[in-house]
């Protein structure tokens, strides 16, 4: 036993202890997203698939599709799929890997931990989209040069912002599911059910049932979310986005947060 640790036990300076600032919790949570092999490669896969998508667009897309919007969309698509998993796993791993035993004893307020995790996911999301827009721009310049077509910049700032918003909505699906299920395996399965199976069922229902066709934009989250990616035009579209987000993310999110606050960490 060396003296360093123990000598100080009695000469305590308790008064100077301050609450851990949220910025520090966010920084640590951000670090935890990258410091495992699985976490690192999950986020790296956003960049890798983004680059592959750019090259594929240059190589295979017809010349008239070589516009900035299409490049940004191709690069951005993997982000939309992968980011919610990053957000989900950052929450569920505390339970599935049981690291919550330490995390929630370092920061006993679970609300702050969840908030910090959500903010870290948003930071990763924004950084990924800046990357997507940049790679998309390079792809657009290079692609149009190779094809010999004029370089078309057809993405307005407003539209770019709604795309960012659309991705944040996707991301919050992961956050919501993470809080509700608190299990990595269950969360990932439900995530794919929600983004792959439910929309298909919904469109099937819309084609066969008249009464549902008018209801769909109000209850089908990916349907309403598509407005954000393709560009918002009407106030009704915003109302659809708000309603579906409330229904699929805010309400279950509140339920999930209550579960997180009350559940036992073992």
């Amino acid at each position: 036993m060396t003296a360093t640790t123990v000598d100080q036990v009695t000469t305590r300076r308790r008064t100077e202890l301050k609450q851990i600032p949220l910025s520090r919790v966010v920084r640590v949570e951000l670090r935890k997203m990258f410091d495992t092999r699985s976490g690192f490669w999950l986020i790296a896969s956003i960049a890798i698939t983004g680059l592959i998508a750019t090259v594929a667009t240059v190589a295979f897309a017809p010349d008239k599709y070589l516009t900035y919007y299409n490049f940004a969309k191709a690069v951005g698509y993997p982000i939309t799929v992968i980011l919610p998993m990053v957000a989900l796993l950052s929450i569920t791993s505390e339970w599935s890997q049981r690291s919550g035993l330490t995390t929630f004893t370092y920061v006993p307020s679970r609300r702050r931990v969840i908030w910090a995790k959500t903010l870290s996911s948003v930071i990763v999301a924004v950084a990924s989209m800046v990357f997507a827009f940049a790679v998309g721009a390079i792809g657009n310049v290079v692609g149009s040069a190779i094809a010999g077509t004029p370089t078309v910049w057809d993405l307005s700032v407003g539209h770019a912002l709604t795309i960012v918003l659309g991705n944040l909505v996707s991301l919050s699906i992961g956050t919501m599911l993470g809080m509700v299920l608190r299990s990595s395996a269950g969360g990932l399965v439900m995530y794919f059910v929600l983004v792959l199976l439910v929309p298909n069922l919904s469109s099937l229902l819309a084609t066969s049932q008249d009464w549902y066709r008018d209801l769909q934009p109000w209850v089908d989250l990916p349907f309403a979310q598509a407005y954000l990616f393709e560009g918002m035009h009407t106030g009704a579209q915003w109302a659809h986005v708000a309603t579906t987000v409330g229904l699929w993310i805010v309400l279950p999110g509140i339920f999930g947060l209550r579960r997180v606050m009350r559940s036992e960490v073992k």
Partner: protein
Amino acid sequence: MITIDSLTKKYGGHTVVHDINFTARSGRVTGFLGPNGAGKSTSMRMMVGLTTPTEGTATISGRRFADLPNPGREVGVMLDASAQHAGRTGREILTIAQQIMGVPASRVPELLELVSLTGTEADRRVGNYSLGMRQRLGIAAALIGDPSVLILDEPANGLDPAGIRWMRDLLRDYADHGGTVLLSSHLLAEIEIIADDIVMIGQGRIVSQGSKAELLAAAGTVVRAADIEALQRALAAAGVTTTVSEDGSLRTDTEAAVVGRAAYEGGVVLTELRNADSGGLEEMFLELTADTQRDTHSDTHSDTRRERTAA
């Protein structure tokens, strides 16, 4: 100091922890002893806010754990050394603790050295660690914030005898410098080596508590003589009730001085007279938790009980 006041946890109709009260004092190592499933871990989780108590409170230096501004700087906690992301390295786990608590980065190598994890070991993923290495890492993470209170659940689990000795010295030194240590174990031998005070728990209730010295004294006196029957008569004459142990010695709850005088007055030559040692404490542990033990205890023990009842 840790103060546990009427702490109770019920799951549905099932009471796992039943109205426990005790204090772990500073400068002392308090052993929380009980068989598996007695409610030790649930109690410890309630102390650090991971489980909400049904009733009662647990405070650390007068404050609830959840009210501590930076808990890692005041309370070192290790509830399960294996509860870590298997994909992180030992060094990374300590770095996370160091960063969130806001202590200097130099604490990481310091603590690695303290718990004798080498640089190579620290850079391996904890998924590849042995239980003993995880325990050492868990101790390092608990100590990194330089806390004045330690709460450790089964810290000696998976340590070899040398490791247990190392932990005893570490915790002894820590308590001697004014720290408070609460550690749990289901093994009496471990607690006996490490702890100053003992809190015994069985089926969610505290069955006995006190300093180790008190509990050892309470375990009684062992006395032996060449002529055991003469000794029995002499002691009986003095009103001392005894039981015969298997090894031929007599055991009594009366203190040694009284036994010695009774033997002297009866003119019996003693060959041994001492406080009942760990065997006595162990017997008490088994007896106190007899109704709560999952396994039926050894025949030796039931024999002793029968003899005692007979006597």
